[in-house]
Amino acid sequence: MNLKAFKSIYFFALLVILVSACRREEPTVWDIQVASPLAEGRITWSDLIADSLRETDENGVMHLIYQSDFFDVDMDTLIRLDDTTIVNSFTPGFNGGPLNVPAGFSLIELEENITLGISNAEIREVRINAGTLRYTLTSYVEGPLSVAYHLPGVLFPDGTNLQLLAETEAGSIEIPYTLQGEEDLSGVSIDLQGVNGSSFNRIASMLNVAISSSAGGTVPVYGNDSVTVELTFEDVVISYGRGYFGNQETTVETLVDFSPFIASVGSIELEELSLSAAITNTLGADLRITIDEFSGLANGTSTTLSHELIGQPINLTRALDNGNGSLEVSSFEVVIDESNSNIATLVGSIPSEIAVNASVDLNPLGDISGGNDFIYTDQAFEASLALDIPLCLSSAGLWLQDSLSIAPFQSELNVEPTLTFIITNGFPLAVEALDATFHSILGESFQLVTNMNIASGNYFSIDALTPSEQQHVQVLSHNNLELMRQGGYIELTMALSSYNGEIVKMNGNEYIDLQLLLNGAIELSYE
């Protein structure tokens, strides 16, 4: 090969290699060892229990205050008007026909009661907040009529009574004349004492049907011709009722949610606490209430309250109506504490629910008001309890269970970290056998922490507590970190024990500091 040919081949090959070789074929990747803080935070009482449930007394001891209704009397059962349709059909009062009746002649004149069922009570008067009265007038008479349907007991806010006045057109058996309309019942009061003023659940009505003067001549009327009035009460909300509510005995079973704490097994020993129960009677009727059972349910185990109140009747006299909704109510209050009951044992079992079984006897002495029981439906009957737990307690092996949701997070780092948990415990409670299991939204789970112990802060007095600090190391695999990135929740179970098993008092300033440190290999890369 001569020099010229060699150089030609040489330069050509160089050109090819230059074009094709200088190309980036894969990303550059390397690993570094990183030590970095990952997360930090402080858990205080505010994170565990809402501020509204906590108070601090004059001695600096924090109290948990839990308030709830523990049973209710259903007002609707005493006085309620369901959607009701009343149909009355009126005939001329003779057989056969036709009779040629001249214009202006009164065909039907009738005064009677309309029965209005309002629960099982004997109601004499109601006041309505809202509702609608729809009416339909149907005439089968072969001629025009003048119809006046008067309900004198239905009184509108402007002082007028309900009157349905209509001039009908000729109808027939086959094609009757129909007239429809409606009235707003807001603010209406209804006298339910009927025509004679001494009945109950009765609305007085007066009907007058005459041949209309527009008939021009006579109108043939048959004996079986009729005028039908249909009244429909819709969506009626009663604000006040008066009458006799009857003598009723009702059994009430209530479950009170008691889940600021969710415990699995174990108990705490409470030094003192009190349970206040208050019942207020706003009914214009006598009540006799008997609390038959008051118990706490914890993991299927029931602890029954023993107190003189249990099984004994509580008599509540009727409220007095001063007019315009101003009432003089009657009340009953009782304080249940460790001196007169086993309430400390009941609450110390950390119930998830409190069951209250009671019987309510309405008007146990009968109609002593002469049919003047009353009810204002917007002033509810009240039966509440308030539990005051000063945090003076001891515990040995109280198992708790909780869950923390973890939001999904983005991170481009490729890492297999060693996690170090640094925990500073400023509670006078030790955590034993802490297990944390992460459950991803994808359904997979893994153990994040296993059998971790956190020593109690060193407790000397309510104002002298030295936090304790410890570390726990956990290796997190790449796969597990990927699961956490998707989000999910951490399920925690742990056993709590007070400092040396002794009674400890908490002032609300307790805390747990948590630091999460990362130490591990991170893969870095660039394209």
Partner: protein, 415 residues
């Protein structure tokens, strides 16, 4: 495999910029006897006092950098890891047959070129953080002071004059700025606490760059001017020549879309707030960019070109051999004054070879060889391996590859 082939071929063509030693030290005047000299040149080089070729290949072309490879680089450097590199492709001409304003001693010359230059000074602490992490630097501050990274790409089109007898001359070029990036950290450090429960990053420095909306060859983001020149002073009695050579003395004025980020602050991190994670409304991990404080300005900027000045002495020892002493200066901390000493011998009147030793610049001592050949008085080829060890070893700290083809167009009278 492809990389090895390109290395092999380029080694046969690699050529120092200051080649053509035989143009001045040769016994014939073949250049001056021709009408036009056409010159096609391509060159790429890198040099470092710590980064070897295996590491550079993985950084440039991809691959896994093992801990052992990262460690090997770090062991070479105690305080500051320096790196420099450039590539250039150019086409030029020298008109020997013409005259300048009637003066036959002078001729015209011109050149068009595409250039890119990069240099970096990485403190050993920063290198350690980038490639090994901070886990073994607990309760210590890793300093990143005097970090410097500079990159510039540009094209030049220039014309000038050449003094035919001595081949001295100059070219004034219009410069088109394609891109620049510059990072400078005056003071900085990363402190990791003993437990690793807090880290603090202090930083005081600037980062400037050209418009990022427009990128690519010939993007025209700046305009400037450059001076290149060579002054050859022949020694008495043809004993040799002293040369002063200027490369890329000039500047580029970058357009109004250039950006400058400036920061002088301290960032501390003790962990993400637990509430952000343990919360249905959590925001997840923070974006640290949002936590770093800096100012941002958009404005015109002027940057010097990566110029250098070279001084060279070539002195005959006898009719057949000579020595060379060369110094190159560049006014930046990352570039030490570079000294080269060489010995060359003529094998025959058309063929010369030699060896040289170079120290300084971006790297350490290296040895090279040179070969130059005239072919049929028409074609000139030069080969120079600036670093023989670096050319063939993965642990070499530099490479130098260049191709130069010079073609002489005869005078019409000679055809």
């Amino acid at each position: 495999m492809k990389k090895r082939l390109i290395i092999t071929f380029l080694t046969l063509l690699a050529m120092d910029l200051s080649a053509q030693r035989s143009w001045w030290m040769g016994n014939d005047s073949v250049l001056q006897q021709n009408a036009v000299v056409l010159d096609l040149e391509g060159e790429a080089m890198y040099r470092s006092n710590g980064i070897d070729r295996e590491m550079l290949n993985k950084l440039a072309f991809g691959g896994y950098i093992s801990p052992e490879l990262a460690e090997r680089q770090e062991e070479r450097v105690e305080d500051l890891m320096r790196f420099g590199g450039r590539y250039r492709g150019s086409l030029g001409f020298i008109v020997m047959a013409d005259s300048v304003f009637g003066n036959q001693q002078w001729g015209w010359q011109g050149r068009v070129s595409a250039n890119a230059h990069m240099e970096a000074a990485i403190p050993s602490g920063l290198y350690h953080l980038l490639f090994k992490g901070n886990a073994d630097r607990l309760d210590q501050t890793v300093h990143i002071d005097q970090t410097w990274v500079d990159y510039m790409a540009y094209q030049k089109l220039g014309f000038g004059l050449v003094h035919k007898p001595t081949l001295s001359g100059f070219t004034i070029s219009a410069v088109n700025g394609e891109r620049f990036d510059r990072l400078s950290v005056l003071e900085g450090g990363l402190y990791t606490s003993a437990l690793g429960d807090s880290i603090s990053l202090s930083y005081n420095g600037t980062y400037s760059r050209s418009d990022t909306a427009v990128r690519g060859f010939g993007s025209g983001l700046g305009i400037g001017v450059a001076l290149d020149g060579q002054l050859n002073i022949p020694l008495n009695e043809n004993r040799g020549v002293v040369s002063i050579i200027l490369h890329d003395i000039g500047f580029i004025a970058w357009n109004e879309a250039s950006e400058r980020f400036e920061a002088d602050s301290l960032f501390s991190f003790t962990g993400v707030a637990l509430d952000d994670i343990i919360d249905d409304d959590g925001d997840g991990l923070p974006s640290f960019r949002d936590s770093l404080y800096y100012t941002h300005a958009v404005a015109r900027m002027t940057r010097w070109l990566p110029g250098r000045i070279q001084a060279r002495l070539m002195h005959r020892i006898s009719e057949r051999d000579f020595f060379e002493a060369d110094m190159t200066f560049r006014p930046v901390n990352v570039f030490d004054p570079q000294i080269r000493m060489g010995y060359y011998v003529y094998l025959n009147e058309h063929c010369m070879m030699g060896a040289n030793a170079t120290f300084g610049g971006y790297g350490k001592l290296r040895f090279g060889i040179a070969y130059e050949q005239w072919m049929a008085n028409r074609l000139f080829m030069a080969v120079n391996l600036g670093d023989v060890y670096g050319q063939f070893s993965r642990q070499g700290l530099g490479m130098f590859a260049a191709l130069r083809i010079t073609y002489l167009i005869r005078n019409q009278n000679d055809q």
